[in-house]
Structures are given as C-alpha cells and as structure tokens.
Symmetry: C2
Subunit: 592 residues, 2 copies
C-alpha cells in the first residue's frame, strides 16, 4: 500500500491491490461504482479504478444513516471515496478470478464525490457499441478496462523503448511540427502563416530531413517519439496523424542499425509480454517476394509460393505457357484443407485475384476421397501433372491456387490469397513473429509514368558494389535497407543514408530531377552533405501499429486515445469545424 | 570503452572518454577534424565528436604514405575515422583543462569519411555570428559544443522528468495535434480538412481539454511532453510551437498537485545540476503582488515594493495625495547604489514606467555624500519625509522610485523598474530560486470590455469557502491555483479543476456566456462532468523555458533544435513556403 500511486491524492490504496496481507488495515479507496446490489440488508458495491476493482460492503450498522442512504441511491458510474477496513471474505465468497477476490472492504464512511447520468453504453469489456458512439463519448469508452489496458500498454512500451535508447546513448530531440512541404511524398496538411501571407507550413510526414540534419549537426544518436501527418484516405491502420519511433545514428554502415534495433527489441519485448527468440531472421527482399509474394511476410505459417514457371512453360494450357514464354511467372500455393471446397466456393476466390490485378485464377482441388477436380487438368501431360504434384507436395485435401502474370502481379495475387486462405482455414498463427526483410532494390520503374522512383526513399545508400549501376542499370542496384516485420505487418523500416553530396545528386538525377530541381527541392540537404556530413542511417517504427499488434486489436484506433473517424473527424470535440471570417482573413484566405 | 554508445557503430571509443587507464589500447575514433596543425614533421589533429575531443598524432613513420598525404590536406570539419594506439602525452604536453588532455592517439590508419567545404562560421563556442545565419546553417550551429550541450541537457532533463513521473504512476498519453479550436484562447493555427470542405482543425494551444477528458476516462495520472501552438507575435521567449510538460491527476484536492510536483522536482533538479532546497516557499498571490508587483517574483534579490499610500495620503504632493484618496496606491522601491546617478540618468527611467502604464515617475536620490535630490521633496512635511525615509530604510547612496496609480499599474511599473535596476546595478542573482505562487483570484475584471475573465482559466475550482461569491462578488473568489516560478520566470502553472457540471456552468455564466454558448463551446466538457468526472487537477511546465533557465541562456531559441525566426520562418528549410494551386484547390481555398 506504500506505492507512489497512492501518494499526493485522496486515497491510500488502489482498487486493484488489496489482498489477505492487508486484512484489518484501514484504507481509503476512490473509484467508480461499477456493479451495485442489495443482499441481506447490506449493499455491495464493486468499486473500480484503473487498477482493478474491490468489493465494498456497506452495512447500516457500520456507517452513518446518511451514508447508508447515499449507498442505497448509488447510480452507475457515481464517483466514490470509501473509508473502511479490509477483511477476509467468507470462504464461499472468495473469488479466485478477481485480483482482490480474497478480501472486501467494510465501509465506515462513504462519500459521493460526483454523480453520473446514465451512460450511453455500458462500461464493460466486449461491448458491441458502434465505433462512432464510442468516439463521441471517448472518455467513457476509455474507462472500459480493455481500453485502459491498451493505453497502459502503450505507455509501458513507449517508456521501455525510451529507456533502452537512453541507455544506448540516444538523445531525444524534438523536431518541428510547423515544417516545410516534403517533395515527392504523400499529400501534406498545410497551415497558413499569418506573418507570411500566401505562405504555408506543412505538417511533417516524418522527421526524415530533420533527423538527417541532426546527424550533420553532430548529435550522433537521435530518437524521437514523433507525431507524423499524412492527408490520405483512411483505412483501419491509417490515421491523419500517427506516431513513429524515429531513430538515427551516425558513424554506422551496413547492418549496424539493424543490430542496434535488434538489441533494443530484445530488451523491450519481454517487458511488454512478448517472448521472441533472438537473433531475428534476416530475409533477403528477393526471397520474401519469391516465397511470400510480399515484403512483409507473416512467417507464422507456411503455404509458401512455388515458382512453377519452368514446369509449365510448354504445357498445353496456353495461359500458363504464353505467360512463361513472355517473361512472366507462374506461381502457386497449396491451401491444405480446402480440397473439399465446392467449385462455387473456390471460384469466389477469383475476385481476390482480380482485385490484385489478375485476369483470372486457375485452381486444382484434391479431395480427401482422392478425386482431382480442375478446369485445367486436361491441358497437362501426365508427366507435367506428376511434376506439379511433386513440386507442390500434394496430398488429398489440398487446393492449389495459381497466378500467371508479371512477377509483381503474380506475387500480389498469391500473397493476398495466402492470407485469405489462412484466415478462411483458421491456420494457427498464435503469438508473434518478428523478422527483418533486407536489401530492397534501390529503384523501381513505373511503366505508366515512365520513370524511376525510389523503392525505400531517395536518401538511401546504394550497395557499394552497385554504385556503378545507378545511371545505366538502376534496377540492378541493391540498397542498404531493412524493414522490421511483425505478424505480417511492416512495423518499420530504415536505411543507411547517402552522406556524400555527389552520390545524392546522382540518385536524384536518376529519379528524373534536373540539377535546378535538385537545388530547389533538396538544396539544404545537399549543402549539409557538403559540410562534413558523417556516415549515418536510421529507422522508424510505427508505434500505433506496434501497440495494436501487442494488444492484439484489429485497429490502431483501439490504441490511440483520441482517434479520428474514417472522414478524419472527431465526434467528441467536433473537429474539424468552421472558422470565423476574421480567422480566414487574418491568413489571407477565402473559401471557394 | 565498453559503453553502449560505442556499440553498433564504426568506432570503439568516443573522443571524450580516453585517459591514462587506456594507454596502449587500440582504439578507433570517429569525428570531425577541428584544429589541425603541423609540428616537427608530425600532424596534430584535434578530433571532435559530441562527447569531447582527442589529440590525434599522425606520424609519417606510423601510417601509409597515402594516409599521411590525406592528413596533410585535411580541411576544417572533414569527417575522419582514425585507428591508433592510446599513449600518454609527454609531461610538458599534458593539458589539464581538457578531459582527454593526459593522452593522445598515435594514428596507424586515417580514413577521410567525408570532406567539407569551408563553413560559413567557426564551429566554436561564443561566436558572434548573427542568429539568422546560425539558423540557416543550423546543423553547423548545433555542432558547436555549447549548442550540443544545450540539447544534451534538454534530453537529460526530459528523461529525468519522464522517469520520475513513470515511477509515480503517470501514464504518458498522446493527445491530438489536429484538434479543435479553443474558445477564448490566443489565436489558433488552423489546418484545412480536405474531406470536410470549409472546415478546419486547430493546432492545440495546450492539451487542456483532452487531459480533463483523460481524467474523466479514468486514466487517473497522465503526463505528456506535448507540443503546443500559438499564433502570436514572437519575443525572445515565445515561439510558434513550444513544448510543455503536461500533467493531470485524479482524486486530488487542495495542495496535492503542488506536493506531487515538488516531489518530482526534488528528484529531477539534482540530475540537471541544480541544488535547490525543499520544501519550496509557497507565497500567496496577494503577497507576491504586494511585495514584488508581479506573480512571478525573482526572489534571488530584495528591493521589495513598499506600500506608502497611508504615509502620503495627506501630503502636499497632489499626485500622491489624490491617487491615495481615490482608491489608488502609492508604492516605492529602494534601488541601493543608484543614489549618485545623474538627474538625466534617473529621468530616463520614466520611460520604463510609462511603458508600463504610468503617467510619470517620481524619485528621490540620496547621494553618498549626504545630499537629498528630488523634485518632490519640497511638497513633504518634515514628519512625512522622516516617515518615508524610515519606511524605505534609506541610507546614503539610495535611489527611491515611486509609482502612484491603480494597484495593477503601480505594481507593473515597480516590478519592471525593480528588474531593470537589478540589471543596471548588477545586483547578485546567482544560482536558481524556485517557489510557488498560490491562490490566484478566480476572476479579474476588464474595465475596457466591461466583463470578467478568468485569472488562470475557466476550469479552475473556486476555493470551497468562496463558492457563494461567484455570482455577486466574483472578485473576492480565490481559487485552487499555483504557479511554479523560477528565477523570475513563470515556469508553469496549474489548478485544481472543476469536476461538477453545475459549478462549471456557474463560472462560465459569470464570464458572460449564455447557456446556449456554454452548450455550443463547452458541451463536451459539461457532458463529461455529468458522466462521473472524478475530482482532478494538474499543472503544465514550459519545457523550453525550463531548459533555457537551466542552461542559463538568454533565449529559448538556444535550447530548441530548429526554432523559428521572429517572423515565424525557418531559414534552413524555407518554411513557410508557397503551395501549388492544386494544393489550395484540394482544400477549397484561394488566396485573397
């Protein structure tokens, strides 16, 4: 009972900490009246605070008549201060499922600190209330134990990360929110500047440029739990503002940042309840794309992609053969356990393939009773068929799904189908799995826009052995880049940065910028690189997503105290809202 | 040499840590070539990193010809990696003023990691470079040891505060930056919302409403090192965005928050080099105004204000007598050591009085050679004069300065003169002094606007004994309010909040709001108070100002990594800047 949490306040213990060792102690508890009931002339109140709940017994023989009357008229969520004595419960009343279930507090005094009107939904876990209602009364939603637990976990994780980084010599440095527009990024939020009519700040999409400046400034090891902003359309794991753990280090090369981050995670994960073995797997980007079809593989289950291009390149099934002969790929997954699905069920999967760019989806079902069902079997020779079954390690009960297309399309299709089938077949994916995906290509080519863009970002260092390829064979350039992947989500990513001004110019030119555009958009970065920039690199981790995965919640909204709706509004405060004509005029703007 | 700072990177030690105990050790150092010189066929380089600097000796007999040639052509701020052996310096070369002054490193290998063009100013402490230039090349400015020390101190202070709060059960919770407009505050920064044409977010001036919501949500103890925004004209200690340590607690009353914060400061201050005795002084607001003329007294020196109204109310000096008779006050300070100032010097002080609202400034000089000079002496009787001298404890060499006006004007005038005279007379103000100023009035009355406003803010709890006075004698209402004052600056302030919806309505009505306006502007707060709000209170500390005072710097710009100029712009990134027509159109705006 001597915790700091119980100092400087109106109570002497929390509602979650009392046990048999406290029996006969006088305590003062504060909290919310959760469940109230009369029984045998006594009133029982489950008094709840953020730490748990304790059973209060109000006996008319032990409190004033006034206090007893107050107890008789308690409403849900009334705020109470209860003074009383801890006593052991009768044996039959002990509740082993409750932290304080061995005791109860016999009240000697009961004060109603505040009343409550009836809440619009129950302050209980697992409610079915729609999310807009929960957000409108967010203070009631958070009062539910599962939401409080999420925010507590968020605090614990952030604090553990801070301590681990402080110990490793990282300084927390705050970078501006009123920043400048980021060239070539997503859409910026813009903020008019009153003393500079017609000019705008942009809210930062990340502190990327500032953290590189801090390395040029000699900070050497920087971190920040930084707010970032992107004006994009929203999804379950996107919010207008989000938080990232932003890290940058000087005098690093190669795998140094990966090694450091892994060391941090090995310290932090046990503190937030995750048992992860270290060192983490480091998977080449090419292998991730080949076997999982994506750069953020969920490695908690198999169902890997098999490349069967060679095997089918001469098959009588013309779709496969022509894709194979025109430089495309034919790949397949084996969804074990779906072999008895009906033709109708299987063909519905084609819509997933099509959403990911496929023109159709071939399949073969091997029923548990030994049949082979497929629209394409007839085009295969016996040898081809046998080879396919061997490659895919077919057993009765298996369903093969195929994609034949350009590699990026085939991968996207099968990656999506793999995740869908894992969900549909309830493939076990318990616990967490972290790994690194490393060595992304430096560039990718956009067929539509006919230009190169950076796979990670344009400040990434090309592998030293690929430096000569930037101008002529950019797609063959690897890069010092790494993503940390958790449970099939990209938790974060980083790169070793370019610290040489000429190298930075070469990469920007390869991305199609003229020297004038480079000076205009990236001038201050180039200047910094010319003035003694140290070798440096970093990483950024999505904190919201990390907590979402740790808490095993479906949406980052469950781990953000005050999130926005899918239309980027806050039903509680009414933001965004109209402003006065004067406010607009002060910043020289008018509405269209 | 085994620190974490030396893991996961290209060096094995920092430039600030080697000593005699490391002699004969092989080390790798990375850093910037600071001071380079040739002497006796050897090249000496002071290699600098964030931790300090180490003397490197490059001997042509110990490195390759190529490395020696590189050493001969080192420019200032070149980035180096040096491999070598630690050796004790010759006795006459030992530098006791340098942390690594007992040793030097004899290089066996020298790599130039990056070159540098000539910096626009020296990377040295105490430069006279104008601030705009420093901000344009901020990464060079921060590379100077004194600026790195400021940011390191900022990290250390913030981390110590976080640890102290975590230990006391506070959860860090992030509140929105894309928030709603704050009624009755300073000018907001506004951000157009694309999915909500014509609507705007406001950047928060403080997380006030969210932290109260978090208390209603049952978080119980919240903190955040929060970015806040005010679109105001800038001064030395104002920036468009600033950082506050924001704290809120539930189940508190009276002095609980003061006690908790004092406990935190007692833990944190020794970690940032401040020896402060505890408990801190708690000065009533009325006493601070009476004796110091302001609510943020610098108590490191005297020169207190004396109220001489009674003493002069019948004097022949009509200015004093009429002010005294019309309910004003006559007050004076004794600036010891200025008694020999010339009449011209003294009368220049009148401009300070006038800037603070006075119509003029009376004075009396007592020269060290025993003369009494004053334009007002002739109006005093001998008894009045003797009483004045006794009250002001006059000695030869003293200068009395007077203010006669409404109390708020007289206080402002003498508070400004007191600080000015302390500066002018070089009154010792060493070290730091913290104290609490408590019990602010709840309301103040604006003669111009003919209405009441809240002295602290409208969510402050009125002293329980003054509750009945809200409607009829509001100026007599005290409040549960407290400011933490350091060295004459308001470091922060807080209050116990209103947790009762009716009480909140009464206060808002007294501020002139109609019930409809209360619902419109404060509806979600009132709802939250009606739904089981716990008693709560909090405090916010200006982090920038705290670090500025700890670092003993004249401006918060020296302790912010990337501050804005007085026109709210950033010379390094060019923010704010123009945006494209398309960007404006997307948010339904056009420029006037």
């Amino acid at each position: 009972m001597g915790d700091y949490i119980n100092e400087f306040c109106m109570h002497t213990a929390t509602c979650g900490q009392l046990g048999l060792e406290d029996v006969d102690g006088e305590v003062v508890l504060c909290g919310w009246a959760w469940h109230n009931r009369d029984h045998g002339g006594l009133i029982f109140v489950d008094l709840r605070d953020r730490d748990g709940y304790t059973q209060i017994v109000v006996d008319p023989d032990c409190v004033s008549a006034e206090d007893f009357a107050a107890a008789e008229h308690l409403g849900r969520e009334y705020v109470l201060r209860v003074t009383g004595k801890v006593r052991a419960r009768a044996e039959e009343a002990v509740n082993p499922n409750m932290a304080t279930g061995a005791i109860e507090v016999l009240a000697s005094k009961l004060e109603v600190l505040n009343t409550s009107v009836t809440p619009p939904f129950s302050i209980e876990d697992g409610i079915e209330t729609d999310e807009i209602t929960r957000m409108k009364w967010r203070y009631l939603d958070i009062r539910r134990p599962e939401m409080l637990a999420n925010l507590k976990l968020r605090h614990r994780a952030a604090h553990a990360l801070r301590n681990a980084l402080d110990k490793r010599g990282f300084f927390e440095v705050e970078t501006p929110i009123l920043a400048n527009s980021t060239p070539e990024g997503a859409r910026d939020y813009i903020v008019p500047s009153r003393p500079n009519p017609g000019k705008f700040y942009a809210l930062p999409q990340s502190p990327q440029q500032f953290k590189q400046m801090l390395m040029c400034a000699g900070i050497e090891r920087y971190y920040q739990i930084a707010r970032c902003f992107r004006d994009e359309d929203l999804r379950a794991d996107r919010q207008p503002e989000f938080t990232q753990l932003d890290i940058e280090m000087s005098f690093v090369e190669g795998d140094d940042v990966i090694d450091m981050m892994e060391d941090v995670m090995a310290e932090v994960l046990p503190q937030v309840g995750v048992a992860q073995e270290f060192p983490l797997q480091r998977m080449q980007w090419a292998e991730a794309m080949d076997k999982y079809g994506c750069d953020r593989p969920d490695v908690r289950f198999g169902m890997l992609l098999h490349n069967i291009t060679d095997l089918v390149k001469n098959t009588g099934f013309k779709v496969f053969a022509s894709v194979a002969q025109q430089g495309g790929v034919v790949k397949a997954i084996n969804a074990k356990g779906a072999g008895d699905w009906s033709r109708g069920e299987v063909e519905k999967l084609a819509s997933i393939a099509e959403e990911n760019g496929a023109k159709g989806m071939a399949w073969v079902a091997f029923t548990t009773d030994g049949q082979e069902k497929s629209p394409i079997k007839k085009f295969f020779t016996d040898e081809e068929w046998a080879a396919l079954k061997a490659e895919m390690e077919v057993e009765p009960g298996d369903l093969l799904l195929f994609a034949a297309d350009k590699p990026e399309v085939a991968n996207a299709v099968l990656s999506a189908l793999r995740l869908h089938m894992a969900e549909a077949l309830d493939v076990p994916r318990e616990g967490h799995a972290l790994l690194w995906v490393v060595n992304f290509p430096m560039f990718k080519y956009d067929e539509g826009e006919k230009k190169y863009s950076a796979e990670h970002h344009p400040f990434t260092q090309v592998l030293r052995e690929d430096l000569d390829k930037i101008e002529d064979v950019p797609l063959e350039c690897g890069s010092y880049s790494y993503d940390l992947v958790m449970d099939g989500y990209e938790l974060g990513g980083g790169t070793i940065r370019i610290h040489n001004a000429d190298e930075q110019r070469r990469v920007l030119r390869r991305l199609g910028l003229t020297d004038a555009e480079i000076d205009e958009k990236f001038g201050h970065l180039i200047h910094a690189l010319e003035l003694g920039a140290p070798p440096h690199g970093g990483i950024a981790l999505g904190l919201d997503r990390f907590i979402m995965l740790l808490a095993e919640k479906p949406s980052i909204r469950d781990v953000i105290a005050f999130p926005k709706t899918s239309s980027a509004s806050d039903p509680m405060t009414g933001a965004p809202s109209e402003v006065t004509a004067r406010q607009l005029k002060e910043v020289d703007l008018r509405l269209l």
